[in-house]
């Protein structure tokens, strides 16, 4: 295979795995309460700030080894972002649980405005960044060229798939996961069976935020820069990925993310990067026309 083509494939894979991580937050929340959480992209943005703050604090206390730095940052960011997810659900969505379908959507748009401006006012309207943590790259020579893989990218791929594996395990085999799935299938029935669905919904928001936080740390490490507006573009992309894969389905979110990432990367590599977003949205529309439930989503059967 051509070195350039392989490089584009890898570019797309890293981008896509990151989309997938954020898409999980959309897909889980949608699966359980049928709501598009528009503020999710902003939760990711907050987590990027938290990651940078944590790195700065750890560096201030003289911690320099990479494993310690990354572990400390991950724990701090995931925990605090999880609490953000919980608070947002509690303040803006829970009072609207029983109202129309669109009320929480508007509330979410309000929350995303609030979070953007909250970050901008408290941290300033400037570009933020983190220093390069993991410099260097792996250069793989293949017949017709070479592929350059930075260590950060390798780390992202490993961490993203590890995160997915852990989440899949939780959803499939733990009591919490069973509760989540039960609530997703039938909220009323689940509560009759003694599941505190309100609490389960809170857990889902926390899990979604935690996955966004994982993505936040990884993206911040890889690109080294972000600002208060960073959640918007990536949020829309991740939402697209979630719908592409079939909203409500966890493997679908990951698959949708990777397909989106690779198609963007290949389209801009082979054709033109100006129209890559047009291409990804057209792809989405086409897939939805022929498979209205998304790639891995369950078809919606309407019962009378």
């Amino acid at each position: 295979m051509d070195g350039i083509f392989l490089q584009q494939l890898i570019n797309g894979l890293t981008l896509g795995s990151v989309y997938g991580l954020i898409a999980i937050g959309y897909t889980m929340v949608y699966g359980i309460i049928g709501m598009i959480n528009f503020a999710h992209g902003e939760v990711y943005m907050i987590s990027a700030y938290l990651a940078a703050i944590s790195l700065a604090l750890l560096a201030y206390f003289g911690i320099e080894s990479f494993p310690l730095l990354i572990l400390g940052t991950l724990v701090f960011t995931v925990v605090v972002t999880g609490i953000y997810g919980w608070v947002i659900e509690r303040v803006a969505y829970k009072p609207l649980r029983n109202s129309t379908r669109l009320a929480p959507l508007i509330s979410a748009i309000g929350i995303s405005l609030i979070l953007q401006n909250y970050a901008q006012i408290s941290q300033g309207a400037k570009q933020q960044g983190v220093p390069t943590l993991l410099a260097g790259a792996l250069k793989v020579d293949i017949g017709t060229g070479f592929v350059q893989l930075t260590y950060t990218k390798i780390f992202i791929l490993i961490a993203a798939f590890a995160g997915m594996a852990v989440l899949t395990y939780i959803i499939k085999y733990t009591k919490l996961g069973r509760m989540c799935r039960a609530t997703q299938q039938d909220r009323k029935m689940a509560s009759i069976l003694g599941i505190n669905t309100d609490r389960v919904i809170s857990y889902v928001f926390i899990i979604g935020a935690a996955m966004a936080a994982l993505a936040g740390v990884l993206i911040t490490m890889n690109y080294g820069t972000f600002d208060f507006y960073a959640g918007f573009v990536i949020g829309i992309k991740a939402f697209t990925a979630a719908v592409l894969g079939g909203i409500g389905s966890l493997p679908g979110a990951m698959l949708g993310g990777i397909i989106l990432g690779i198609s963007e990367s290949l389209f801009s590599g082979l054709i033109n990067s100006d129209y890559k977003d047009v291409f990804s949205f057209s792809l989405l529309v086409l897939i939805l026309i022929f498979r209205p439930q998304g790639l891995l989503g369950r078809p919606l059967v309407a019962k009378v």
């Binding site: 309207a125 960044g129 960073a230 290949l266 990067s273």
Partner: protein
């Protein structure tokens, strides 16, 4: 209940505004200062305000314009065209300004200037470099800075003459400013016999440019020119280096003239050697020495567009004083015929309202994350 509340509020708004406005009587001469006072570009708005205020204070201390004191009116457009029109209307109609210093983003300046032109108000922009600002035949629209096409010529010539570029990749951020600049550079390169091997747009707000970087690698470019701002330029240059393109030269524009470039690129090691075009630093001029010192004494570094705004207010004042009138059109006519001594040196304008002499030069970043002017190559 709530409905009556809103209704009352609306009524009160309409009535109070209608009454409040007509009650004023102007004794001073009012200049509007319009720019992004909030939002992502708020730091430029602050530079505008600081520079303009200092200039107004100084002129007022010397007796003002035709004996009238300058009063500044602040207008926030947040770099959105829609808000720019609203602000322009408010300044023209409610504040009755005689002249305007603004705006910053070209996409705001263009629609706002139509409002000023309709009202016969003179406007001078310290920072909008898009050619269309003065290309639409408006009689009282001036510019304190250069134009993108002038900047593009400087960049294109430098790439051909000094960097000896053979395979040039031209990128832009699909925005008024960045794309205009990239187009100008591309045109100059083509004129000099170098056809870019790649010409593409990035999306503002994204950080992953690895696909484009791989494409640059595939095209075998030896120079990358980027028209855009530092939030995209930083990650772009970093990803170039990370994909092993260590020897590819990187050149950009005055949109990256900020220390934040180092932060966005992930450290000074990545910006080392980056070239950029920018107006000759006005802080280095002999004319600005006293003013710069005064700024520094008050604890403010007059960077970026501060002195441009200062000079803009001086220009407006000179126009009104010279024309001995308070009409914007008279001042505009006078400015096109006479030279003005500003803090940035003596300036003259052509019939469109552009500066007759532009002063773009090339700077380079070093490994400590600082930039300095390169010797003029002739």
């Amino acid at each position: 209940m709530s409905q009556t509340f809103y209704k009352k509020g609306f009524l009160a708004l309409a009535v109070s505004a209608a009454l409040g406005v007509s009650a004023f009587a102007q004794a001073d001469i009012k200049f509007g200062v319009a720019g992004p006072m909030t939002g992502a570009n708020a730091s430029f708005g602050e530079q505008y305000m600081r520079g303009a205020q200092a200039a107004a204070d100084e002129i007022n201390a010397k007796g003002g314009v035709n004996g009238e004191k300058i009063v500044l009116v602040k207008g926030d457009d947040a770099c959105e065209p829609k808000q720019a029109v609203a602000v322009a209307n408010r300044m023209v109609d409610q504040d009755k300004v005689a002249g305007v210093v603004g705006h910053f983003c070209s996409s705001s300046t263009i629609p706002a200037s139509e409002v000023y032109s309709d009202a016969g108000v003179i406007a001078i922009t310290p920072g909008s470099t898009n050619p269309a600002v003065t290309e639409r035949g408006l009689s009282a629209m001036f510019r304190m800075c250069g134009r993108d096409d002038q900047q593009g010529i400087v960049a294109g010539d430098y790439i051909v003459d000094v960097l000896k570029g053979k395979k040039v990749a031209v990128l832009h951020d699909k925005d008024t400013y960045g794309q205009g600049l990239a187009d100008a550079t591309k045109a100059q390169l083509t004129k000099r016999g170098v056809t870019p091997v790649l010409y593409e747009g990035l999306t503002r707000g994204e950080k992953d440019f690895s696909a484009v970087v791989t494409k640059i690698r595939a095209a075998g470019a030896d120079i990358v020119y980027f028209g855009g701002l530092h939030p995209e330029a930083g990650p772009l240059v970093r990803q170039l280096r990370e994909q092993g393109l260590k020897d590819v030269k990187f050149m950009s524009d005055d949109g990256i003239v900020t220390d934040e470039l180092v932060t966005t690129a992930g450290g000074p090691q990545y910006v080392d050697g980056v070239y950029m075009t920018f107006g000759a630093d006005p802080r280095m001029l002999p004319e600005s020495k006293a003013v710069v010192e005064q700024f520094r004494k008050s604890g403010y570094e007059p960077e970026g567009y501060t002195l441009y705004a200062y000079a803009s207010v001086q220009t407006l004042a000179a126009g009104f004083t010279g024309a001995k009138s308070t009409k914007g059109e008279d001042a505009a006519k006078w400015l096109k015929a006479n030279a003005v001594k500003t803090v940035m040196g003596e300036k003259t304008w052509d019939a469109k309202g552009d500066l007759k002499v532009s002063d773009y030069v090339v700077y380079q970043w070093d490994k400590d994350g600082k930039y300095h002017q390169l010797e003029k190559q002739k």
